[in-house]
Amino acid sequence: MMDQGARDKTASGQEVSREDELNEARRAFMRNIAAASVISLGGGLTLFTVGGSQAQAKKPEEPLDPKKRWGMLIDTTKCSDGCQKCVDACKQENGWEAEPHSPHDVQWIRKVNVKDPATGFMMSLPVMCQHCANPPCVDVCPTGASMQRADGIVRVNMHICIGCRYCMMACPYKARSFVHEDIPEEKKRFHAPMGKGCVTSCDFCAHRVDAGKIPACAEACPEGAMLFGDLNDPNSALSKRLKGIPSYQIREDLGTDTGIRYTRLP
């Protein structure tokens, strides 16, 4: 019997059950084993294979679709001051916990309260990695650990991050955190790379997106204020919505061409 509560939305709006997800995970695991059994000397020379064909072995390594550019429209008119659902969902999904105003804790997404001192107008909006087309964090990273996937998602390759923090200096959106101390075992998530001495940030829940789902924050928003989709696909719900209304980027003047747009900014 399928648990109705255990359903997730996909990027195209379809629902998938935990059972389906588990089956997919099992299939992926078998593919990984097959891939691991292929020992290659590089240059296409394969020593031997055990189980599965080479095509299967390569499957998990299939290149991302460069025609896609994942993005999000946040309808700030629906975003209420006290609501933290997107933040809580991200914490749950990616295993970080932050005391308010902690100088060291990791944060991937936060709600920013903005007030116009001239008029008194106030609003609240979520701010996370803006997944820029021209990301300053990627430009400055000496090793290429701060990287942009072919589908536009900006993330940190924790395996080659040396912890220089130059990306944190360069990011205009204060979207990155440094992991200042060991992460307790119970909080570690395989899909959310974080390690002591490395920098980390929102990766648009790449593991979910790759599995055809939407980021945890978007899924959790009770107002449906976070619309995720492919900016390059004119037929996506996101593109259609963006075509019909004005949208804005934070610090648009910097020319970073953010993947996250807002319906209204202060």
């Binding site: 932050a98 308010p100 105003h101 100088p103 060291h104 804790d105 944060q107 936060r110 709600k111 920013v112 309260n113 903005v114 007030k115 116009d116 001192p117 001239a118 701010v127 300053p136 990627v138 430009d139 400055v140 990273c141 000496p142 090793t143 290429g144 080659i160 991050c161 040396i162 912890g163 220089c164 923090r165 130059y166 944190m168 200096m169 360069a170 990011c171 205009p172 959106y173 204060k174 955190s177 440094f178 992991v179 200042h180 101390e181 060991d182 002591k196 001495g197 490395c198 920098v199 934070i250 610090r251 910097l254 900014l265 202060p266």
Partner: protein
Amino acid sequence: MKKHFHYEYLQSKVGYYTALGGMGVLALIGLAAAYYMEHHGHAVTGMTNEIVWGMPHVFAVFLIIAASGILNVASIGTVFGKTPYKPLGRLSAVMAAAVLAGGLMILVLDLGRPDRLVVAMTKYNFRSIFAWNIYLYNGFFAVVLLYLYTQMSQDFRVRRYYTAAGTLAFLWRLILTTGTGSIFGWLVARQPYDLAIFAPMFIALSFSFGLAIFILLMVALMKGDERPLGHGLVNRMGRLLGVFVAAAAYFTVVWWLTDLYAAEHRPMVGYLFFSGNIYSWLYWLGFMALGTIAPLFLVFSRSARTSFKPVVTASILTVLGGISLVYFVIIGGQSYPLVLFPGKQVSSTYNDGMFYSYAPSLPEILLGLGGMAVAVAIVLVASKTLRILPTTLADAAVDPHLATGEVAEMKKAA
């Protein structure tokens, strides 16, 4: 007629071994501090998610800037043909490489993952000025060693490339400091930085920091080893220090004047330079008053012609003022929040919109001092094992003009 200078190893004195031992102890304490920070994570330092670069970077950037400036002493002799500076070329080259090594040691040991240094050396993102700097630093060592080789070789076929190597080293150091300044100048998102003037400003700062450190170590080595040192030479170097100190201050003034002109930057200039906070004091009292105006008075004073004290004091003040300015640039610059929504008041659980505070922790300071100690220790060991220190720097020996004229008259009057 071409002048020949004689160089000799340092003598084996108690003072030498005491100094070397002291530097060794400081270096070991610095290494222990680095291990402590790496083991526990940066949570035990004063650095945060807002002040991401702290005291180690202040020391490291100061030393890296100074290293290229130290090499100027050699360049003044080689490239610009100033006779009194020619015997100082070897010491200048060795000291420049040593100070760069000390600075880089601090920088590397402060990385979140210093164990991945090999990654930094093998994976390059060529869009990154940081990656370019790795090439520039490594190249600096290579070029300086080549320059030193052309200076010290007994082979005429090698020595004839001395001027060419010196010119290459001079150009390389200019490019290197341009790279160091651009680490900050190209940070488009941060209001206190984001200016092309950072590159030439850092070059001017390197001239003053480097010459000040060179004067201090040169006087210490020559006096410690009881070798003749002319007042004329030190006075001349002191006056040059005055020119460099003034040039560096000029660039910092243009920096804040430029930002003051743009309405969007005025709150930042007001906060950093004129609000009376720690950073304003570091700039005006530390850098401007103690690190610029006081040295200017000292090096151009009459007593500087007959005594080492004014120039040595001016050099110490230039170093202290320099560290104040680098702290001001790095820590002060980060303490001003990123502006996501210009003209608006912001707040969040992630400390948006706040002025950030920073208190350096003891391990950070010890790591910085350890890097400085390594630099001095390298100079001491090199002076003991290589012929880099002239047997005499008496005025008559380095340049007869220094022993005559006004300086001699002042001596007579004194």
